[in-house]
Symmetry: C2
Subunit: 299 residues, 2 copies
């Protein structure tokens, strides 16, 4: 074990969690891994991670217990449930939830952790599966500043931009801003490309013309070409995005903010799930909009 190595509990081995935990092994940390499906953790076990039958077992005496799971319900179970990290006999010094989840849940976990003398950070990420694999994630941190600083040596193996946004929940709030920006922009990208198609334009030429100016965005450059090819494979799952949009809208309502663009995006993405595209990538939004072509077009 390296001199500055930490004992890390890692929970969640999906498309994000798997490569992230791998970076921690590469950095020389001692990793205990738990996930719902052991088979999904096998790659990490083969590389030296220790299998734990529960989050509590993984967290037993750990320096840091990190979760990267799909939904708030799982986050809650992983940290606050009977087999959760805070149920360990010797709880971890610090827990870090890197899932995108409810800001209010981040506060709840923080409070529960404090009662046991455990630090707690919410630290959701942006950058997707590519960012996870290349360790170039942007990490948005909420919680106590000293816990943030204590976590930096570990988090810096996972991302290149790590910003402390404030107290517990602030990381999740920053991530919600990220999702709000993406949501309305995806509507614009899809509507623009639909318009281009109907107007008989070559959409690739249009992206060339408009992409370098005020209409330019990550989405038009990275997802625009996929939409044109009809490639709806997930970089980011529609069903995860809908979860995020629902959280953002609930939080906005709690703050008495009316965000009509966000409401529209949630509505369109929910329609997309009804159409069976929950496991497609977020760029599949164009399919929900395309279905809105006026039905009287044959008149």
């Amino acid at each position: 074990m390296k001199k500055d190595a930490r004992r890390i509990a890692w929970i969640g081995t999906g498309v994000m969690g798997m490569p992230m935990a791998g970076h921690l092994l590469d950095a020389g940390h001692e990793v205990a891994v738990h996930s719902r499906t052991k088979a999904k953790a096998q790659g990490l076990i083969d590389r030296g991670a220790r299998w734990a039958r529960s989050a509590a077992e993984a967290a037993e005496g750990a320096d840091v217990a990190i979760s990267m799971v799909g939904f708030p319900e799982e986050v809650q179970a992983v940290h606050l449930g009977p087999g959760g990290t805070l149920a360990a006999k010797r709880p971890p010094k610090l827990i870090v939830d890197m899932s995108t989840s409810r800001p209010s849940l981040a506060v709840e976990i923080y409070d529960a952790a404090r009662q046991k003398g455990v630090g707690s950070l919410d630290a959701p990420v942006s950058g997707g599966d590519v960012g996870a694999r290349q360790a170039t994630l942007s990490i948005m941190v909420g919680g106590d500043k000293d816990d943030h600083e204590a976590a930096l040596p570990v988090l810096s193996a996972l991302g290149k931009l790590i910003v402390h946004h404030g107290g517990p929940g602030a990381g999740q709030h920053a991530k919600m801003v990220n999702q709000i920006l993406i949501a309305s922009n995806m509507i614009g990208v899809c509507e623009g490309l639909l318009y281009a198609r109907e107007a008989g334009l070559d959409p690739e030429k249009v992206i060339q013309s408009v992409g370098s100016g005020a209409a330019g965005s990550w989405s038009i450059h990275n997802l625009g070409p996929r939409i044109i090819r009809g490639d709806f494979k997930p970089g980011f799952f529609v069903e995860h995005f809908v979860k995020d949009l629902r959280i953002a809208l609930e939080e906005a309502e709690r703050m008495r903010l009316k965000l009509p663009g966000l409401s529209l995006a949630k509505e369109l993405y929910e329609r997309l799930i009804e159409q069976g595209h929950g496991k497609s990538g977020s760029q599949a939004l164009i399919l929900a909009l395309d279905g809105m072509k006026k039905l009287d077009s044959t008149k």
Copy 2:
């Protein structure tokens, strides 16, 4: 007069037209200028442009007659009206409308020009006043390919990216895609920054965290900081943007496309004009959204 210089009629000396016509003078072209207000053309006259009392007079025997005006009604008058370019005794060889205007009007002008043996291009731009001053505009061209090629030596003094998108109106359609992309993205940018404010986040830190990833866009980087400072000075006028959004929506309806994001943007921007912000910059959208904060917040 330089060997490859053209005789150019220039109509419109606003925030865009003024520097653009200046580049043509700099490139050694012979420029006759007309605008509604002679005083606004004085800078060009001082630099060697010849004043013309009408668009027709400016266009008399010109190689190219270029318009850069505010609204489709002006475009129509400048080219098809009694004192318009096509009313010249010796009409210009080619007319180029660089205003953002109706695709259907571009076709109408094209047809009227053809009847007089005159070529016609629609060539709206993106890049704003900065792009106009720096000659870095993106120019979206519709019309005949050979007219496009004939215009290139002139247009290349005004922009760095000049793309032919198809027949008459195709340039305007490409510009509409540009505006559709910007419209929904501006909603996302403003809603994201409102959410950040209400959640108690430092919005500059949030832009830092989210700007380099999938939420990144020209607008969040360039207009986000202005919104945070409360700087609503126009780069691009709200009233011009609303004109564009109306055209885009009319065209979409004609194509039987339903674009709910574009409809929402038009509605919000119209509310902004009602609030007296027609002469503000497009980033002022946040003021229309901020007014939507639920009124029962004092309960």
